[in-house]
Symmetry: C2
Subunit: 362 residues, 2 copies
């Protein structure tokens, strides 16, 4: 109905032109879309980014294009956002594409490849390295188009009830972990668990699971994990970044006037700076509070990182052979990564590490 309304009022049909319809209707048709997020409202950076995006699109279209956000479960369950957009139940959504790795493991490239790219590398690869075009080739099979909307930054490795000293400590470990990373945990002998946010704390408290990762200090703090699992490991090697995406149903997208499409594109990229900038601002004080609350910060031992890295690369090599989307994206990402790391370790790393050294001195 909305689509029909648009075609009548704002399309290029001769009828509308010849009867001299108000010009505003041609240029700025009133359109309302529904926008389902994979995030509960408590993830106020990711969900807040969705609200910010809607506000911005309304502002730049003089309130003619109204996109209404819904939190996970309000109209669509959080993990079914892609399906709902794909079949046109809703016009658009905001999600982490790696939730859909069961449809195709290549979806993980949209959010984070374990041992993949950091935040700046990932958005650069998406926009300039051909990454987003390849993600959209994959999304097209779902009748969907996507635009990145911001990152959590490098995530934490999660909360563990016991210390992890060697690869042996991963054997049989019941670990709540999101997305594609579970396949790597399984390969090294762990038992990946898919548990929704609200159920993680009681499972960790009872010992039904041994460990759980969520996001980073700011989001983790709200779920209270520090009370039941004190060892807080880093880095979350499966998420050197955690990229969100706006996804639009292609049929609905194609009915939008070009300048509304441009408004969505621009507001999405605008949201990238909002979300990423907010995470970078709210995580540091949250980490301080968690340390006061008793969190014990631990780096994963080098042996564990290397063991998981090797396991991940074996999985990738197999997938690259059998899955054309995965193979193409993996070749592109690893070529980008090799050059990028060589550069990042020159000016970026030396600046950051000098500043880190000076911090503890004054």
């Amino acid at each position: 109905m909305k689509r029909r309304q648009f075609l009548t009022a704002g399309g290029l049909g001769l009828a509308a032109t010849t009867i001299a319809a108000p010009a505003v209707a041609q240029s700025m048709p009133d359109i309302k879309w529904r926008y389902a997020a994979s995030w509960p409202k408590s993830l106020d950076t990711l969900y807040g980014g969705c609200e910010y995006f809607c506000k911005r699109v309304a502002e730049i279209t003089d309130n003619h294009f109204q996109i209404q956000p819904f939190a996970a479960g309000e109209i669509v369950p959080g993990l079914q956002v892609l399906d709902a957009v794909s079949n046109g139940t809703i016009e658009m959504g905001n999600t982490a594409l790696y939730y859909y790795w069961g449809k195709n493991p290549a979806f993980t490239f949209g959010t984070a490849l374990p041992f993949g790219l950091n935040t700046r590398q990932h958005i650069s690869w998406l926009l300039w390295g051909g990454g987003q075009d390849m993600v959209n080739d994959l999304l097209k099979e779902q009748n969907v188009i996507g635009i990145p909307t911001g990152s959590t930054g490098a995530q934490m490795g999660g909360w563990f009830r016991k210390e992890i000293k060697s690869m042996d400590d991963l054997k049989g470990l019941k670990f709540r972990v999101g997305g594609f990373a579970g396949t790597i945990i399984a390969k090294v002998g762990g038992v990946p668990q898919q548990i929704v946010a609200g159920d993680i704390y009681p499972a960790l408290e009872k010992g039904t699971i041994d460990a759980a990762e969520w996001v980073g200090p700011y989001d983790d703090e709200k779920l209270g994990f520090v009370k039941v699992a004190k060892y807080y490991y880093y880095p979350g090697w499966w998420e050197g970044t955690g990229q969100g995406h706006n996804i639009m149903n292609l049929d609905k997208w194609n009915t939008l006037p070009k300048h509304y499409q441009a408004a969505v594109e621009s507001a999405s990229r605008d949201t990238f700076t909002w979300v990423t900038g907010k995470y970078d601002a709210v995580n540091p004080p949250a980490l301080k509070r968690l340390l006061v609350a008793g969190a014990i910060l631990k780096p994963f031992p080098q042996e564990v990182l290397e063991g998981c890295y090797t396991a991940a690369n074996e999985i990738y090599a197999d997938l690259a052979k059998t899955n054309p989307h995965f193979g193409k994206m993996y070749a592109s990402l690893t070529a980008y990564r090799a050059d990028s790391l060589a550069w990042m370790q020159v000016a970026e790393l030396s600046f950051d590490s000098f500043m880190m050294r000076m911090r503890t001195r004054t």
Copy 2:
């Protein structure tokens, strides 16, 4: 004239309403602005970002708001963009605010404080740490408002004809360096030089200067420095980031319809991902080419970094006492930085440095 045109066609005057002017004119007035950049076209990431911004604003306003970009010197000299916007000669510009540190040293906070923040920290501090509001308090004295538009990333320390082994090697060193950093170079005994892009190469070739910094591999390569000064030092501690800004004359800004203001805001932040993403994509292959061409990569010795860091902090302490803008921004930035570095060295640094170690192994 343009302003008058807008007021007639799109203002809230009763006349326009009562004679039932085409509604499109009310909602989407035709406006043309001139937009002067501080960049030559050869800085195709910074100037390219300006072109991208204009294209995006045109797209999202259905071509009703046309902003025309001009390269440095076409209508305004590169270092006079703020003046031209301030006095209304042009409606807006794109520049590095630290060029204007002679008006007030606090302008350096808009672009980069030496030994200040990296790229993610700086945009986060601007948007979430109150930084941009404070920069705008300063810009308001020039009748200007600003929005960040993207960063070069951490810059290189520049091209040196001789090795720098100790602080003594900085004594008397004639060093082409941009912005506020020259005051620190002078304090440690160097002789900062302000030289425009086209004159750097011959000065370095003849030995009129001993060293020159510009941006990073991609931009430096085009000026050919590797042929006349082989030592390529890092990091450019005076620019852990290099932020560009859109700046608008406040009177002109206030005549814009709200949704055109929103279009400029959103397209500016959109441009942030374009510019920063492009630098991160084009610098790595440029670094490889420079190494093939004979560049000898050298880190500044720890003694040199620490000596300059101490000198910088002394300058900042003095300025903070006498300059309210500087004092307020410095207190805010250093508080943000202390917490941010403590967090960044956990997940971000450990992820990046693990990936860097693995790169050289495979």
